[in-house]
């Protein structure tokens, strides 16, 4: 066990701290950048530029595509995260273009695609949305039905997508469509790059449980894009998408966020009272808090173990598969305790005067996204047992809704 970083890394940390000290006054906060559903403002773009120049975002993206061109260094990445979070300074733009499309293009795109899209995307000049899920294709994404047929030198796309977050202010969409209807379902899909200004695209906001419309439905009617707007080959879209999904899975379930929530909960429990008694002085709530703290510490240290294994070149085991599943429920329960200790006040949200500093009700409602999104808890448990524990895959059977086999 050796949790110390090398001198080089500790030197890097000092560098980051110095940078933050210098820029803190003018830098946008975490929330100002990540908490919005709007295209990046000029201020944010300015900040993004500074971050790229200093290698605090787009760190490993080659210089020729507009990145910093640094070597992959997980610890430096960790130090950047830690120090920026501590200073509450934005680590720059996130979003599906940067987190999913860019790595995918770097892995599988043509030289022309990389040149054209990577730089503008990481600079926030081009905003992307993801066109994967459909009303009938969620857990079973490969059953998607939106189709694209080739007419001349164009794909003509028809169908419907859902959960396209940021679609209402995106410039581009990376979309999965069925181009080979006769192939087995995983082999008939293509991965296209579609300008959102193309005629035939209708975006409708999708109101969710929280009352906000963070997501959209997208209806596609005879949408025409060039046949060259494809990543990799026709029919290879599932493989391309999986390269992308790999990046998404890691994004959901962040112990640092859960830790911040737990600390906020502790603070809340010292402040909120019922009949004059502080929540933290009620042993049953206190015990729930300690249970959650124990689980959080476990997950946090587990994530550190995974990072360490990764650093030290150990082959990944089942450890990585459990993070998303466990974090989602832990978050849900942290928020749930926050509501319970506030009692009736915990049901208030969206700016009510009696809300606490944080909107626990809204975070609670929003936490269902963590349980359901990016693979439901049931799918996660399949993956954990199959890939993590080597148990059999679900047998492939086609059934009607009485459970009878269909041919």
């Amino acid at each position: 066990m050796d949790l110390k970083f090398s001198e080089e890394h500790e030197g890097f940390r000092k560098q980051v701290q110095a940078f933050l000290k210098e820029h803190k006054a003018t830098a946008p906060t975490m929330k100002a950048v990540n908490g919005t559903s709007a295209a990046p403002t000029p201020e944010v773009k300015r900040w993004q530029k500074i971050l790229i120049e200093n290698g605090y975002t787009a760190r490993t993206i080659p210089k020729e595509y507009g990145g910093y061109g640094g070597e992959a260094d997980l610890i430096k990445g960790l130090i950047i995260q830690e120090e920026f979070i501590a200073a509450d300074v934005s680590t720059g733009l996130t979003g599906q273009g940067i987190s999913m499309l860019v790595p995918t293009l770097l892995e599988l795109g043509t030289e022309e695609q990389k040149q054209k899209w990577v730089g503008p995307t990481i600079r926030g000049e081009v905003v992307w949305c993801q066109g994967y899920s459909e009303p009938g294709a969620g857990s079973d994404l490969a059953s998607l039905k939106t189709k694209a047929v080739v007419e001349g030198d164009q794909f003509v796309i028809n169908g419907q997508k859902i959960w396209t977050s940021s679609a209402h202010f995106s410039d581009m969409c990376f979309i999965l469509v069925r181009t080979e209807p006769d192939a087995p379902k995983h082999h008939g899909i293509s991965y296209l790059l579609m300008p959102m200004t193309t005629p035939g695209i209708e975006v409708r906001p999708l109101v969710t449980i929280t009352g906000d419309a963070m997501f959209n439905e997208m209806f596609l009617t005879d949408v025409k894009i060039g046949v060259d707007q494809i990543v990799d080959q026709r029919g290879k879209g599932w493989m391309v998408a999986n390269a992308t999904l790999k990046h998404e899975r890691g994004m959901i379930g962040n112990p640092a966020q859960t830790e911040a929530n737990l600390n906020a909960l502790m603070k809340l429990m010292k402040a909120e009272t019922c009949d004059g008694i502080r929540a933290v002085d009620m042993p049953v709530y206190r015990d729930r808090l300690m249970r959650l703290q124990g689980r959080l510490l476990g997950l946090k240290l587990h994530s550190l173990r995974l990072l360490s294994d990764d650093l030290n070149g150990k082959a990944p085991d089942h450890g990585g598969l459990i993070v998303k599943y466990s974090s989602a429920y832990l978050n849900h329960e942290v928020y749930s305790l926050g509501i319970d200790v506030m009692g009736e006040l915990g049901t208030l949200y969206n700016g009510d005067a009696y809300q606490s500093e944080l909107d626990w009700q809204k975070m609670y409602l929003g936490s269902f996204a963590g349980i359901i999104g990016g693979g439901t808890a049931q799918i996660q448990k399949n993956v954990i047992s199959e890939r993590g524990l080597g148990m059999p895959r679900e047998p492939r059977v086609t059934l009607d809704n009485k459970g009878w086999a269909m041919m």
Binding site: S133, G138, T208, V284, G343, E344, L348, I372, L399
Partner: protein, 363 residues
Amino acid sequence: MNFGLSDEQGLLQDAIRGFLEEQTPLDSIREFAADGNGLQAEIWQGLIELGATGVIIPEQFGGSALGMFDATVIMEAIGRTVAPVPYISTAVLAPIALLGSGSDAQQQDWLNKISAGDVMFGVGLTEATGVRRDAGLKLVGSKLSGKALFVIDGLKADQLILAVGSDTLVMVDANAMGLTRNRLNVSDKTRGMAEVLLDQADCELIGAAGSAAQTISKMIDAGRIGLAAESFGAAEILLYRARDYALERNQFERPIGSFQSIKHLCAEMISDLEPCRSLIWYAAYAYDELPEEASLMACHAKANTQEVGKMVARSATEIHGGMGFTDLMGLHYWLKRIELNRQLLGGPEATREAAARLQGLVA
């Protein structure tokens, strides 16, 4: 011996359920949720016409002199449709307050109006079930000052009944001088919860000051049973909607309801939920017939149903997957009603502690 609804109660249940199901399609729920007042006048009017507001009111005041059990049947039906009506406050809590501590004149006046549907009440009992933040009322003579939080159905009510401490009940006109009420922005938009600010507002005592402890205790019991029934109704709907959705929704060439994980989630839901029905029925029966058991049963009915209801709401949402997270199927209205009820009149921890206290288990 019959553990359950009598034939008459079965008819009542059918009538109320039938009416509410017809009157509360999802679109109309969305409409009044957007309005934010938590009241739908046509539904309220219909319930009045069905005699629902008078079920626990004696015949001499225009009621049908049934009991809490019947009110519970109605509350459950309201929960099944998340109907936005001030039923528990107007038809359950206010009559109990008036019958328990009101003067002859107050009873004559208000109970008749309630039976006839001519008044809506809001009821604030948080003074007696857990004071939060700077809430607190002060009564000097007939002048009421201070702040009442979470007055149930208080936003559109004509009259408010408020507990002052745990032993005094007052009634105040919602339009009285010195009274301001503000909407509390609860996530359940189908119920008009209010903050009420009072500055020397005129009020009427219900019973002498300091004399209403027992009445308030009965209101809390009845409120807990009623909220448990509502949450039970909401949870049962969520469970069956999840089951039905799972049978319709296909993924991987089969209905998701054919996967054992979904089947077992449903089995767990019904196994935990079904006993709540009997617990709530018995609590309501005890309220009517076995007063010495009523408080304990009310605590357990509420605590248990709310814990189970929360689990059912979560599981049903999970089974709906992304559809559970959107407004498209409106599932969240039921979930939010359960979440709100969980906190009203004492959350599960507080209610279990009350149950322990009733049994002499708290030193």
